[in-house]
Symmetry: C2
């Protein structure tokens, strides 16, 4: 394991994973900042915008570009079903499909991993399996999948549902969905099925490809995977659920989990809980789940210069855009409240707890009202992410403290402007982290995403999905041979 | 209209459209030819294979790379549900998703159009609209969509259906599906909705984006399109249906239609029928539907050299692969027949008519049996496509004759090996066509697909989809203003 030294639970002296957090939209987490002179996210429609960014990150040694996604507009604020307040800020709307960016970005980079958000709720598993297999082939194994189940009401309605599928039931479906995917990705083609032997005239060998015969409670997929095994077979699996159902899903399936939270002390509780679940419930080495914290940095050569930069950036914030994002994320329409309402004492427990978490982390504001205006101030730069403003020393100190106290393996770094934020991190933060031995100096080239993170292209042997693997030379995939779950006998394909 | 001079029904002296017909699989239409020394289709998994091909075609002036697709394996021969006989030949299985190839190919080319097959049957319209809008943005408007409804039983079962949706009903669904797409692509965002005005702080202008409120018989899509208008809005629309329902669908929606048939005389009947339908039923200029014939060429410097090349290629054919493709295309399992059965006199009218069409076009074989062996011989190079073997003069004569007699606008040229076939066409055929004024010498750069074919980026005014357009400065999309169909009133978005 390249990144963590050894799996002994010690968080110290490990090298950090750094991801760039982006979205295929003009306005990601800092509404209104698209109009800052340094920023060009309005070019998100152009492929060159993305290949330039990919090359910048690749050269700097970033581990991954992680691309968020939504499948419907945020339409709660001044709603219902009103997307208009966010239009001026391009607040995560419009948003293009992220997976189409990956092959071209992979072609111009050597190491960068592309983590792409896609939902289990609206794509059929047979189709989604093909999409990721295709991109895993085209990227030489550098794609990762951020598994989401989609929480937006607007997405549900536009995809033909009357309303959303209930939260926990989405995860019930998602568990079976993953079984279908593992069967397609891991068990349908034997590792050595494709021989492409010109002399023998054999592209793929009969007897080494099987129909998966999946007949579950919610999905029926009888056939073989339509794609031959890709470099990773199963793409590296990311996840971000924080609910009970989401956390259990992540502890079972995810190889990297994104966590949110304002302080490393608070985040530590989530991290411990995830690692414990992974170990106790799913028999995994708890350090085979990489934990990545979301964070928003404003950096410059000195602490003072960073503060000035923050003041400059704030001038471009779009308050309606912030309220639009808040409405989408929380389901609460702040237009329904007066400007004076103090949400630290709100009768809506959801908002109250969110706001109290924020309040305790902004020094000197304990006695101030957390009204609409303060909420917007808080969200303008980096959304709900914890924020660190400072020069190289301060930033590196804080990231080091986070890694130790929260026991996280790395960070999803959001941008406030793009270009801008990542260039600053490359100029001011990465050299300092390297000086401290906290960031890799040598970046391995030409290997898959999973090899970079876990040292091998396929799922680790303690991952649930690995039991589906049909390895070279074996008569049947493991899960059938070991009879680990009730499964139909391997069916004779010829003349059945 | 660049290509056709004028729309007067005269087919003479027009310049031809030439497309390269390919598929994201080791074995497209010539089973077994993947193992020919010149061929490298086994590299289909690598992006470089595709960007190289795109550059070759672009430089040579080809109009489009047209990518076929299937959503399940061919599993009729020696079946049912048996994909094994085609594995050695890689006979259209495995097959990766074609749309992920486009952005990277567009990035390294200047003019080439990318026509991609995608089905209306398994993707939700809201999701498919987003996929094509994304790729239309990333390719600067050079994507075309080949609309199919998916005919394979294996695809239906793997996408969660018990069996296929009945053929004509798939087209009933597809018509409403297209209405949803036109509303999303053409009517949801006004042409001038996105202003990206940094000074005013307006990315998109409120009041110029609307929820489509589609509530039809089969689809309900209330929301706004999640993507801003792409260069073409609606991608250039291709189609290939030949049934009654398919032909009517094409005459209404398609801007280019692919036709099959062994002789130009026979094809002429289809062409006339399509053009007449387009004019009489849908009020279109009949030459606003470009008709493209599929054809398979074997070319060399002389007729004799081409014959020799054919004999060499035949040696690599995979007969089991041919029978696999035949089973998939026709639904008939030839394993159930003796080697002697003469299908010219079959009691299955479907095969009998197919075979008789072939028989009358292979001179000197009128009195020979069309048994299994001869069917396979016929299919090995180029599948069911009509075949022309010869030197530059003969090929150009034949293409010219086809264009005149069949009144087609161009050709989908299949490959037998790749690399190989397209290089030969570029070396031997294109110079001769140019000498005769039948192929463009100047290729326009940096314009959209539709501009190349019809002189403007948006749908032509006589196309059904154009009535959905929300043009700059207009209060509402045309179809609402003109009340061309029963539609809900434009809903007030704010505070509704």
């Amino acid at each position: 394991m390249e990144l963590n030294g050894k799996s002994n639970g010690k968080a110290h002296n490990k090298q950090l994973i750094l991801n760039a957090f982006v979205m295929n939209t003009p306005g990601h987490l800092s509404p209104g900042l698209w109009k800052h002179p340094r920023n060009h996210t309005e070019q998100y429609k152009k492929l060159g915008f993305w290949t330039d960014l990919a090359q910048l990150l690749d050269k700097a040694g970033f581990h991954a570009m992680f691309i968020a996604d939504t499948l419907g507009p945020y339409d709660v604020y001044k709603g219902p079903h009103n997307f208009e307040p966010g239009l001026a800020a391009g607040a995560q709307f419009p948003v293009n499909d992220p997976l189409y960016l990956v092959p071209a970005m992979a072609a111009v980079t050597k190491s960068l991993i592309f983590g792409v958000t896609a939902s289990t709720t609206y794509d059929k598993p047979y189709a989604l399996a093909r999409r990721f297999s295709t991109v895993d082939h085209l990227s030489d194994g550098r794609v990762a999948w951020n598994i989401v189940t989609s929480y937006l009401e607007s997405a549900a309605r536009n995809h033909g549902l009357e309303t959303q599928i209930e939260h926990d039931f989405r995860y019930v479906l998602a568990h079976e969905y993953m079984d279908v995917l593992y069967k397609l990705w891991e068990s349908s083609w034997r590792d050595d099925a494709v021989v492409a032997d010109r002399k023998a005239g054999t592209y793929a060998t009969a007897g080494r490809v099987r129909n998966i015969e999946h007949k579950g409670k919610y999905f029926t997929v009888p056939g073989a995977h339509i794609c031959e095994p890709s470099p990773q077979r199963t793409p590296l699996l990311f996840q971000a659920g924080t609910s009970g159902a989401g956390r259990s899903f992540g502890a079972k399936h995810a190889e990297a989990i994104f966590v949110g939270g304002q302080t490393p002390e608070k985040v530590r509780a989530s991290v411990d809980s995830i690692r414990q679940l992974a170990r106790d419930e799913f028999g995994r080495d708890p350090y085979h789940v990489k934990i990545i914290a979301g964070i928003s940095l404003i950096v410059a050569e000195t602490d003072e210069a960073a503060q000035e930069k923050q003041q400059d950036l704030l001038k471009y914030g779009d308050r309606e855009g912030a309220l639009t994002l808040f409405g989408g994320w929380t389901g609460v329409d702040l237009a329904q409240y007066t400007d004076d309402e103090d949400f630290q004492f709100s009768d809506k427990p959801g908002i109250r707890s969110v706001v109290n978490r924020w309040a305790e982390t902004v020094p000197g504001t304990e006695n101030l009202k957390w009204n609409k205006g303060r909420i917007v101030d808080f969200l303008l730069l980096g959304g709900m992410m914890p924020k660190i403003v400072g020069g190289p020393q301060k930033i590196a100190d804080e990231l080091e403290r986070w890694a130790e106290v929260a026991d996280v393996d790395g960070f999803n770094l959001s941008h406030i402007t793009n270009p801008g934020s990542f260039e600053d991190i490359i100029e001011f933060v990465i050299p300092e982290l390297r000086k401290r031995g906290l960031f890799r100096t040598k970046v391995p080239e030409g290997i898959t995403a999973r090899e970079q993170v876990f040292g091998q292209p396929g799922l680790l042997s303690d991952h649930y999905g690995s039991k589906f693997r049909w390895a070279a030379g074996e008569d049947a995939p493991r899960y059938l041979a070991d009879d680990l779950e009730p499964a139909p006998k391997r069916r004779k394909v010829n003349g059945n």
